[in-house]
């Protein structure tokens, strides 16, 4: 595949197992244990010894698996329902994505507690770097050959590996926290940056480099994000992004919340995405439960998700323009967001974090007069977008600051796991809403905005156009909103439809159990990815047949996007970095979870 080529993307066929044939032909069928799941992709267990060969083979197949979409672990020690699976204390899974096949495959490796070692695959996909660090940090699994296997989410002084099942989840299970002066100094010393640790030189032949610590509190770092720059004058020789300041352990929390009560936590993953975050989670839970939601639910969900795409993109637009130095537009985009929130508040009752989707439906039906409010917004925004384009985005200083800045091509984007507008601005037409429709997106008529240069300017222009397309989708929801129930008629719908609970004792009991203990999901694994505001966001859920998730893996786009910073920005100026950070459109909550 050449750079910048627009690939043809095959129609999506879930559960396409053709790759198993290709693998068996090469490695023999006995090399794989096939696991049946509801993830919509083949899940294959392989032996550790063959892992590198198999992954390399998949990477180099005709129509290759170009992207390492996700890599993480599972602590299998407390899992009870794992019939037919290889014995394992820990599992590491590799989720690979092929754009040309429009299909995924998941490779799993079983590890025993006494021997938690795996070969690093950073030489096959460079973006395995941070994922492997995170697995080491949270599970204590060692990756041989990793260039810099240190903690990434937790502070360097942390003890233990928090995602292990024997690691307590509640603060009350620890001794009370105290901070002495000695401990504070110890922590500060541990956070000190030593260039040698990262293989950096302190000086060249004729000059000393300056190491500039940008963040974790810097106006343009967009949150608690630290990036250490190695500067020659104002030119960035190299840099080290450091994350983890916003880590709240959302994946750990998911393991002690009921399936239902975890929904509000998802809102806070990408805190600008609102109900858009609920979507992959509830879709994934619905796959586990086998719920098919009514059309009206799909439409309502799509409409609200698109509203949040717009509010998120408006915030991006304002701050991005501000990052290149124009102070005014951000106030106007915030005024527009206010108008969107007026509609969102009227429909959901909340503004930023409505937590409004439910397993099998939404929290309540659309209120009376919703259509009038939505119509007002649909009429308002396009005019404003035209104004922004004319007043700010066609400004020659802004263009001079962003065109050709922080440029990368499709091949680089894919090898770093870049998704969303960052990928489409390189010319690749890959939008999940079209490529793998979910939640009824196949019913809507809209276009996928593309650009060609893959620079900071294009990333912005793609998002501006996406807002126009979102307006189109909302408009279609407005015109064609189907009648019907706002909850699926299914025993696992949570909370269950109330009407019958007051008539039948059986449904009353179910209702009581579901709102107290929470619903019990059948033991299985499921997966759903969506085109979220910032790229592809997905939830990979493992149920052990309980009221709580056994393992919830949240793959967020911003994590991958930040990892890509050093190769893109090397050789540019400090001001370019600021424009680049603005154009990525990340929030740290989405990176650290």
């Amino acid at each position: 595949m050449t750079a910048n080529s627009v690939l043809s993307i095959a129609p999506y066929t879930p559960d396409d197992h053709s790759v198993i044939g290709e693998l068996s032909a090469k490695f023999g069928a006995e090399a794989f244990t096939v696991q049946t799941t509801r993830t919509g992709m083949p899940v294959l267990w392989v032996a550790r010894e063959q892992l590198t060969n198999i992954l390399t083979f998949l990477r180099n197949l005709p129509r290759p698996y170009v992207m390492l979409y996700d890599l993480h672990g599972v602590d299998e020690r407390l899992r009870t329902q794992r019939r037919g699976l290889p014995d394992a204390d820990f599992t590491v899974f590799y989720h690979l994505m092929s754009i040309e096949r429009n299909n995924d495959v998941m490779i799993k490796v079983a590890l025993s507690e006494g021997d938690l070692n795996l070969p690093s695959i950073t030489s096959i996909w460079p973006n395995a770097n941070w994922y492997e660090r995170e697995v080491w940090d949270l599970y204590g699994i060692h990756f041989t050959g990793h260039p810099h296997l240190t903690r990434i989410m937790m502070p360097p002084t942390w003890e233990g590996h928090p995602l292990r099942k024997d690691y307590p989840a509640r603060a009350t299970e620890f001794d009370p926290f105290s901070l002495t002066l000695a401990k504070q100094q110890h922590e500060e010393e541990a956070a000190r940056f030593r260039p040698e640790d990262w293989g950096m030189q302190r000086g060249g032949a004729h000059e000393d480099f300056m190491f500039l610590n940008l963040g974790p509190n810097h106006p343009s770092a967009h949150g608690a994000f630290r990036i250490i720059l190695q500067l020659d004058g104002e030119e960035i020789v190299d840099c080290v992004p450091e994350i983890g300041y916003h880590h709240r352990g959302a994946e750990k929390m998911a393991e002690r919340q009921s399936w239902h009560s975890f929904i509000p936590y998802t809102d806070r993953i990408d805190y600008l995405g609102g109900v858009m975050n609920n979507l992959p989670y509830v879709l994934s839970v619905e796959k586990l439960a086998g719920i098919k939601v009514p059309d009206r639910v799909d439409f309502i969900r799509v409409m609200m998700a698109e509203f949040f795409r717009i509010t998120s993109h408006l915030l991006f637009l304002g701050t991005y323009i501000q990052d290149v130095g124009a102070m005014t537009p951000v106030f106007f985009t915030f005024t527009d967001r206010q108008r969107a929130y007026k509609v969102i508040e009227a429909i959901t009752g909340f503004r930023l974090h409505p937590a409004w989707y439910r397993i099998g439906g939404v929290a309540h039906d659309l209120p009376r007069g919703w259509d009038k409010l939505v119509k007002e917004f649909v009429d308002w925004l396009p005019k404003r977008l035209d104004e922004y384009e004319k007043a700010a985005l066609q400004n020659s200083i802004l263009r001079g600051r962003t065109i050709g800045v922080a440029q990368y091509n499709t091949r680089e984007a894919l090898e770093w796991g870049v998704t969303g507008a960052g990928l489409r601005s390189t010319g690749l037409d890959f939008d999940l809403r079209k490529a793998r429709p979910y939640s009824g997106y196949e019913h809507f008529d809209f276009e996928v905005p593309l650009a060609n240069n893959g620079d900071a300017y294009d990333r912005c222009m793609v998002r501006v156009e996406e807002m126009r397309q979102s307006i189109r989708i909302i408009d279609q929801c407005l015109r064609n909103m189907p009648e019907g129930p706002y909850k699926a008629d299914h025993p696992l719908t949570t909370p269950p439809p109330k009407e019958r609970t007051l008539r039948d004792i059986e449904t009353l009991i179910t209702h009581f159990l579901q709102v107290s203990w929470g619903p019990v999901m059948p033991a299985n694994e499921s997966f759903q990815m969506i085109e979220a505001t910032k790229g592809i966001n997905s939830y990979y859920l493992t149920s052990d047949g309980g009221t709580m998730s056994y393992r919830t893996r949240i793959r967020t786009p911003s994590f991958a996007h930040l990892q890509q910073i050093p190769p893109v920005i090397r050789g540019s100026m400090v001001a370019d970095l600021i424009a680049y950070l603005g154009s990525i459109d990340f929030v740290m909550a989405d990176v650290d979870r």
Binding site: P219, A326, A575
Partner: protein, 330 residues
């Protein structure tokens, strides 16, 4: 009262006038912080400070009280002497430069026959404020800001002076009052010296470190740059110093290119001060409007713009003006 000779009277009146002008300029500079915020609020679809007093006019009092009572903190790692000196220079340099401005036929601090040169000297000195602040703070962001400031000032002061030489050549004097009178008799210099005006205006923004030439502070990049370590009154002096610089430069633009205290077409010669104040306020507003409307170019683009565009333009302007002056003299 025999000691009160007419000479002494004149002297006392001159001193009194100078003190009045000093106070007015400083207060105007301080008030600008309020006016700028209100104007920005107006343009940006929000209110701005409107709580303290009628229309928020006493906001400035509240701000000053806050600033006075803040801890006057000097970082332990700073070079204390230079660290204290820097805000003084920032405050004083452009304030002194105001001395050469003739406000009305009878008002003005100093009537120097090298008027413009004095302004150049003060503008040259003001860069030391940024340089000293950046260096003595012992902070990497401040240092980067200071380096940007030095490079920018060196580049822009080259044609800051050259841009005005057209005016000087036409008038044949450095004296500000001569320049104003010349404009009253001929044309305001905005027309014959249009390119001189453009380049001087650009350079003047650069000298005041105002947006889009606020590279040394560049909040989004350097998180405030050279004055990142300052707090309390020291920071306040940088802050007010910047506004005083705006007042001075706006007054200069009015004096040099827009006929000083004269009204357009000799209208209403009875109110010279009003004309002067109105025109100065207009330019102050332009400074604020610029800040509200455009993005900030990258630092190397600023330098390239200076050397590759402004300097050649200035030189051509000077050559053409010189040729015309010579031609008309013969």
């Amino acid at each position: 009262m025999s000691w009160l000779t007419p000479e002494l009277m004149d002297m006392l009146i001159a001193v009194l006038k100078a003190v009045v002008i000093l106070l007015v300029v400083v207060i105007a500079g301080a008030l600008l912080s309020f006016i700028e915020r209100r104007l920005l609020g107006w343009w940006q679809d929000r209110y701005g400070p409107n709580r303290v007093g009628p229309f928020g006019m006493f906001q400035i009092v509240a701000d000053m009280l806050k600033m006075f009572f803040k801890e006057d903190w000097t970082p332990p790692f700073a070079d204390k002497f230079i660290f204290t000196l820097a805000p003084m220079i920032a405050f004083a340099a452009m304030l002194l430069a105001f001395a050469i401005i003739p406000i009305s036929p009878n008002w003005g601090v100093a009537d120097l026959n090298i008027g413009i040169l004095f302004f150049f000297a003060m503008a040259g000195l003001s860069v030391y404020a940024v340089l000293f602040a950046g260096w003595s703070s012992n902070n990497k962001f401040a240092l980067l800001g200071a380096l940007r400031a030095s490079a920018q000032t060196v580049s822009y002061e080259v044609f800051l002076a050259l841009a005005l030489m057209g005016v000087v050549a036409q008038v044949g004097s450095f004296n500000m009052r001569d320049i104003v009178e010349y404009q009253a008799q001929h044309l305001w210099f905005i027309i014959p010296q249009f390119f001189g005006f453009c380049t001087f205006f650009i350079a003047a923004i650069a000298v005041t470190h105002r947006h889009p030439f606020d590279q040394p502070e560049a909040e989004q990049e350097l998180a405030d740059g050279y004055h990142i370590e300052y707090a309390g009154m020291k920071w306040g002096m940088f802050f007010v110093g910047e506004y005083i610089a705006i007042v001075t430069v706006s007054a200069l633009l009015v004096t040099l290119f827009f006929g000083g205290w004269h009204g357009p077409f000799g209208l209403l010669p009875q109110i010279p001060f009003i004309w002067f104040a109105l025109k100065t306020c207009f330019f102050i507003m332009i400074f604020i409007l610029l800040r509200a409307s455009i993005p900030r170019p990258r630092y190397d683009q600023v330098m390239a713009f200076s050397w590759k565009f402004c300097l050649p333009l200035t030189l051509i302007n000077l050559l053409v003006t010189g040729a015309l002056v010579l031609a008309s003299a013969q």
